[in-house]
């Protein structure tokens, strides 16, 4: 695995962990992270293509290897997500408000969180452990 890919996976893992922690905190503390603006998932799916997110993350947000992390099934909490999109610290292409207004980003975020989980690995013969 290249260092670049490793860095992406670290980010993705951190965002995924952050999501888990945030969920736990929501249950036990009053300090919740700012919620995402209300978004339209259908519009977000269209914007994900029109604003070129798919180019690195894939049309199903399944991830594009070293080019872009998987977003389906592990979207970070809105504050971390929106901060990273605006000012990425790694290779990601930055999206300013001018290029991608807040509402458009919220729509994309809503769609990403609505993506259903993939079929279980155990149900996919082609992904069965090596024989």
């Amino acid at each position: 695995m290249s260092q670049r890919m490793a860095a992406w996976l670290v980010i993705a893992a951190a965002l995924a962990v952050g999501e888990g922690l945030a969920t736990a905190k929501q249950q036990v503390t009053a300090q919740q992270p700012p919620a995402a603006p209300a978004g339209n998932a259908e519009k977000g799916k269209t914007l994900f293509v029109e604003r070129a997110c798919w180019q690195c993350h894939g049309l199903a947000a399944q991830g594009g290897g070293a080019a872009g992390a998987r977003l389906a099934g592990r979207v970070a909490p809105w504050p971390a997500f929106s901060r990273y999109v605006r000012r990425p610290t790694e290779e990601m292409i930055p999206y300013t408000v001018k290029v991608l207004p807040d509402q458009d980003l919220a729509d994309i975020y809503t769609w990403l969180r609505s993506i259903p989980p993939p079929p279980a690995v155990a149900t996919i013969p082609q992904l069965a452990p090596r024989r």
Binding site: V49, A52, L59, A60, P118, I124, P125, P129
Partner: protein
């Protein structure tokens, strides 16, 4: 616009004049010069020759020639000897796009050499020819000869030669040239067929070249070229082969001698330095090995595994040097490493530093301040200045010049001598942790592949998994792309290693050359083929069908030069004007409107083909049909429409 009346000619008059001019052209120059020395040249529309003049010219044209001064045949041409020389170098194949400058050699290979060892391969472009030779070496482990001519053919070949240079591939190049102006035909042999110094065009990419002036010189330089090409670090060589030397008769064959080839043994690293490297590695708590182009053969892979297991150290990179399912393959990371060993690692700076492609570019070291870096490489022994293929300069603590595969036995022995029972216990604990991490990584890869499983266009992860599921029970070999952590790379020949085509457009031809080398072993060769690459020299596919090189092409057809699509988006976003760029279709990078029918293209060259296939559920049956055809000896192509990354 009306033509001037004086330019008008009727058909009868035109043919009459042309006939007279033709007859004049057939005359023997000396006779004409003697007969008309005191007269002005006859106009093109001269009156017919008198009977006396016609008789004189006929006599001159049909008079017997002086056989000794003007022989019309040759029984022992120089190119026959050249073929004898090249046969001693054990080439299986020579490949070319034909050219008149090497017509002598071409004929000698076919008739004198019997078109065996080497067999002549027909190719439709010189770039493809060099890359087929490059790919053949990656599997066969020995060079293929390629012949072209100066300057035009060599100019076409340059990207393939750059690939051989970059991949340190010992492709054996012959370049015909007609050095002597007296030996050149008018027109054709001057501009497009002759140079003062053809090798100058590509010398920055060659390990060695020569332009022999005699047959004995050719014999010695041919053997020297092979020897130098195969000496580590390897690289392409070129002999300029003179046209007249090919076609002229051998003056005295008894005076010609073909030298014996003795290959140079590869250099091992200095023993004291290797002992120091062993001391550092055995003492390390968190060692990490970067394996570049380490292994030349199965023995190289076995040695790297032995080193890794001796130290219980993770190995990154070099998919060909390490079985990818080995528990020590792919683990570890630079940030936590205290000793890093780099073996023939071309891009060490990139491995050890973090680079970010943002508006302000920069890189920061990932190596902890107390960590030590050891380099064992043969690349320091052969460098060129013009092409910048060395990356930024990377500081190391111990630099050992030597061939890694040759140095590994000494390094392994030195490590084993230093390992105490305490260190062995520590290594075993480290190995267990790495094995657990490796198993988790494989499981993660399996889960990652499930995302977008039913998406259309097809995800690259699903494409790879579907192909693997079809070939896993067979004796397969990847001849480029697509292989990932879910495949089982358990032998050296399964993958290709550091072969380079000099940029987009080379990898399809490389795959064909590799498949050719696999053919005699009966392996099922699979090539994941990007669309943009295939559009450069797609006629190489005909070479595969013509020469019955069985292989399966599975397209990664994203209908774009997608890397450039992403670069354009990056530029636009930085400049804050990227809002609609993707929606507009990115002029200059998309390969749509019309979509290209790769299946039809492949069928036109004699391959079995299906597609376009964009529904992932259609993949498996298509793959089964295609593999059946390949196993019968055919070339098959599936035009699969995929997501870009």
């Amino acid at each position: 616009m009306a033509r001037p009346s004086k330019l008008k000619v009727d058909r009868r008059g035109f043919l009459k004049g042309a006939g007279a001019a033709g007859a004049a052209a057939l005359t023997v120059p000396g006779v004409v010069a003697g007969a008309g020395a005191a007269s002005p040249p006859a106009p093109a529309t001269a009156t017919p020759l008198s009977p006396e003049q016609a008789a004189q010219r006929l006599a001159a044209e049909t008079a017997p020639l002086d056989e000794e001064a003007n022989p019309l045949t040759v029984t022992d041409p120089g190119s026959d000897f050249m073929v004898d020389v090249l046969k001693t170098l054990d080439f299986e194949y020579i490949i070319s796009n034909p050219g008149s400058s090497f017509r002598g050699l071409h004929e000698s290979f076919i008739n004198h050499g019997g078109n065996k060892s080497p067999e002549w391969l027909t190719c439709t472009h010189e770039q493809a020819a060099v890359n087929i030779a490059n790919g053949y070496y990656a599997v066969a482990g020995k060079p293929m000869a390629m012949i072209t001519f100066a300057p035009s053919g060599l100019q076409h070949a340059t990207m393939g030669i750059f690939g051989a240079f970059s991949g340190r591939t010992p492709t054996y190049l012959l370049c015909a040239n007609i050095a002597d102006g007296e030996a050149r035909r008018p027109a054709f042999d001057w501009g497009p067929h002759a140079m003062q110094d053809p090798a100058d065009m590509v010398r920055d990419m060659l390990k060695w070249d020569d332009a022999p002036g005699s047959l004995q010189h050719f014999a010695e330089s041919a053997v020297r070229a092979y020897k130098l090409a195969m000496t580590e670090p390897r690289g392409p060589v070129m002999l300029v082969v003179d046209g007249a030397l090919q076609e002229n008769a051998i003056a005295d064959r008894s005076k010609l001698r073909i030298p014996r080839l003795t290959l140079t043994t590869p250099p091992a690293g200095d023993a004291a330095a290797v002992a120091e490297a062993a001391r550092m590695l055995v003492a390390a708590e968190s060692p990490l090995v970067f394996a570049g182009n380490v292994a030349r053969d199965e023995e190289g892979m076995r040695l790297l595994v032995e080193l890794a297991e001796t130290l219980q150290a993770p190995v990154q990179g070099g998919g060909r040097a390490m079985p990818n399912q080995h528990p020590l393959s792919g683990g570890g990371n630079v940030r936590s490493a205290d000793v890093i060993l780099a073996l023939n690692e071309d891009g060490l700076f990139g491995r050890l530093n973090r680079y970010v492609d943002q508006q302000v570019r920069g890189s920061t070291s990932l190596v902890t301040p107390t960590a030590k870096v050891i380099s064992i490489t043969s690349y320091d022994l052969s460098t060129r200045g013009n092409y910048q293929n060395v990356e930024r300069f990377q500081e190391v603590n111990l630099a050992i010049a030597g061939d890694p595969q040759t140095t590994l036995p000494g390094l392994i022995d030195a490590c084993k001598r230093l390992i105490t029972p305490d260190r062995r216990r520590a290594f075993e604990e480290r190995g267990k942790a790495l094995a657990a991490a490796s198993a988790q990584a494989v499981e993660r890869a399996r889960v990652e592949a499930s995302y977008g499983w039913d998406a259309s266009p097809i995800t690259l992860q699903r494409l790879s998994a579907e192909v693997w599921d079809v070939v896993r029970g067979k004796d397969w070999a990847s001849v480029g792309g697509g292989v990932n952590r879910l495949w089982t790379v358990d032998a050296f020949y399964r993958t290709m290693g550091a072969v380079n085509g000099g940029g987009i457009g080379g990898s399809m031809s490389i795959a064909i050359g590799a498949a050719l080398a696999h053919r005699k072993h009966g392996r099922l060769c699979v090539r994941f083929q990007p669309d943009g690459d295939m559009l450069y020299v797609n006629s190489a596919l005909w070479t595969a069908t013509h020469h019955r090189i069985p292989m399966l092409f599975v397209m990664q057809n994203n209908r774009a030069y997608h890397q450039e699509v992403m670069h354009l988006q990056r530029m636009a976003n930085r400049r804050q004007r990227g809002m609609a760029l993707a929606a507009r279709g990115l002029p200059g990078s998309m390969l749509t409107d019309p979509n290209i029918d790769f299946a039809q293209m492949a069928r036109s060259m004699g391959a079995y083909a299906e597609g376009p296939i964009s529904n992932p559920k259609d993949l498996r049956p298509a793959l089964l049909r295609a593999v059946e055809r390949v196993e019968k000896g055919e070339v098959a192509l599936l035009d699969t429409i995929t997501q870009p990354r």
